[in-house]
């Protein structure tokens, strides 16, 4: 039998239906791959027994010709999603040992449709980071390597465990979350596909909150089709999240292979940054050429407020984080350090429980929300969001169907290479992705080529609100046109 971890999620689904193999066999192959790949540090918790139990239950259903859209398919779950009875940490010391008594809505939807859980995937602490170096449980290593080098490459962040596990075939697909680029940047860094759907498409209930007006769940997978299959199961209205949208969930897989002839693709001139690497500029031009060849019409557009998105994000996100993370007080769950009184207990618990980047962002957020500064910072940033969104609205009103941009300003870097002296250096990774969160729009990243040193590069498609289907059609057109990029031989075991 061929190695079952080499299959795409869609191939595995079809193979199970055709009874070519069982879910137990498929799951065991992935459990073994996960066990061999400890050097990547992609999983914080592995749940092989649970996985095999779920696989057995799926096999029973499949044998009767029953089962949901994801029946018997083993997935990895970002450790930001609460999973009943399985430790959930947000990669933070402050939540070490936390066992949720409930299941997040998105993961409930996956289990409803028959998916199998392999374990909980590593991430940047509280999803704050762009390289997965801020995890309390250690950095994740990308399965990718530079040509002629064994330097440890970052898998992107915050969903670095998700992207590394998907790229290294340690699951068929993974859940992820995206507040400023945390699905799309790791997907770009690892040659995988990631979609941040429109804000409100997936329920945020049971996902550890970072910045509530920006956070959105989505999948990372190895193909556009696989991402479409996963998103259909993840999405949907939920009474427990008032920001989730009560609109039917389309069968996104139907959008795969649909013609993109006549679609109007906007190319925003403000994304052509001063000093953009020639390699990234060439990749972008190549993407334009591919879509043109597929019949799309290319149009230059202007999104004039683009350059304000990243600074405005670094007000909105820390402000909301400082409020959301106030709940970690050492009383109800998680770490507790004793103090001479209750305030001392709080201060010691939070100083020890939160890592450096999280403490920094809570403090920035506290400052911009403190008396006298709210209007100057948070309120101003929310108004700038309106301007950013208006830029997109005008482009869409003029007939643009989707916007094509690079996903990241550079390929993945090595551990320790960025942000150690100046936090802003790391923040600049999200320059192309963060506008999408600020405007609440859907964004899809697809692999498009390799850098000169042999690392993956991605392109991003930004869509109209709730028109993820257009992104899947266009994304697949790029996927078909792009050269197939090949991962190095599995050096990780």
């Amino acid at each position: 039998m061929t190695d079952l971890t080499r299959l795409t999620l869609a191939q595995a689904r079809d193979g199970l239906k055709a009874k070519e193999f069982t879910s137990v066999e498929l799951t065991q192959a992935h459990v073994d791959a996960v066990a061999r790949a400890k050097s990547l540090n992609a999983y914080i918790v592995e749940t092989p027994e649970k996985a095999l139990d779920m696989a057995k239950a799926s096999d029973a259903k499949l044998a009767k010709g029953e089962g949901g859209a994801l029946e018997g398919l083993p997935l990895g779950i970002k450790d930001l999603y609460c999973t009943e009875g399985v430790q959930t940490t947000a990669a933070s010391h402050i939540l070490e040992g936390f066992i949720p008594q409930y299941e997040s809505t998105v993961t409930s939807n996956l289990w409803r449709d028959g998916a199998v859980m392999l374990g909980k995937l590593n991430l940047d602490e509280f999803a704050m980071g762009s390289s997965n170096e801020t995890s309390y449980f250690g950095p994740v290593v990308s399965p990718w390597r530079r040509k002629n080098s064994d330097a440890k490459i970052v898998p992107g962040g915050s969903s670095g465990g998700s992207s590394a596990a998907v790229a290294a075939h340690l699951c068929l697909g993974a859940t992820a979350t995206d507040t400023g680029g945390s699905i799309r940047q790791p997907a770009a860094f690892t040659g995988t596909v990631g979609i941040k759907p429109t804000y409100g498409r997936c329920s945020r209930w049971g996902i550890v909150a970072f910045a509530s007006s920006l956070d959105q769940a989505g999948p990372i997978a190895r193909t556009v089709r696989d991402a479409a299959i996963m998103l259909r199961s993840m999405a949907g209205h939920d009474v427990k999240d008032t920001t989730s949208v009560d609109a039917p969930v389309p069968d996104y897989e139907q959008a795969i292979g649909a013609s993109v002839k006549g679609k109007v693709i906007g190319i925003p001139r403000e994304y052509r940054l001063d000093g953009m690497s020639p390699e990234i500029a060439a990749l972008w031009d190549q993407g334009v050429a591919w879509l043109k060849a597929a019949g799309a019409e290319i149009r230059e557009i202007s999104l004039p407020h683009t350059k304000h998105a990243l600074p405005a994000y670094y007000i909105v996100a820390p402000a909301e984080a400082s409020s959301n993370l106030a709940r970690y007080d050492g009383i109800r769950y998680g770490l507790r350090k004793t103090g001479k009184d209750i305030v001392d207990l709080y201060e010691k618990t939070r100083a020890e429980g939160f890592g450096k980047e999280v403490r920094r962002r809570i403090m920035i957020g506290t400052y911009v929300l403190s008396a006298g500064y709210y209007d100057a910072y948070y309120l101003r940033a929310q108004k700038i969001r309106t301007l950013i969104k208006r830029d997109f609205d005008l482009a869409y009103e003029s007939g643009v169907d989707a916007i094509l941009t690079p996903a990241t300003p550079s390929p993945a870097f090595a551990q320790g290479e960025k942000g150690s002296a100046d936090p802003v250096e790391m923040y600049l990774n999200d320059v192309f992705t963060v506008t999408v969160n600020m405007a609440g729009l859907p964004g899809l990243v697809v692999p498009a080529g390799l850098s000169s040193d042999g690392l993956p590069l991605g392109l991003q498609l930004i869509g109209r609100p709730f028109e993820e289907e257009t992104l899947f059609s266009l994304g697949e057109a790029i996927e078909q046109a792009a050269p197939k990029i090949v991962l190095p031989e599995p050096w990780w075991g």
């Binding site: 009560d246 304000h308 106030a326 007080d329 609100p465």
Partner: protein, 95 residues
Amino acid sequence: MSVDLATVRRIAHLSRISVSEDEAPHLQNELNAILGFVEELNSVDVTGVEPMTSVLPMRMKKRVDEITDGYIQQKVLANAPAREDGFFVVPKVIE
């Protein structure tokens, strides 16, 4: 705008995060780097612009106001670092 050391200590206290004497100057530099980075937003004219509230204009759907759970004391307490007789235990707060 930049923050001085006294402000760093005040923010730390408001955040309920203890900061050591050694750490404070580093934090001051980092916070000032971030505040410097966001300073350019002052150049944007936001006169008459409403703050963003939603991606598409829509009414927030409200759920029915009804009791949906209860009697889950053990679940609520299950992860508490200190509990006793069905209560969370905290240091004495009232003399």
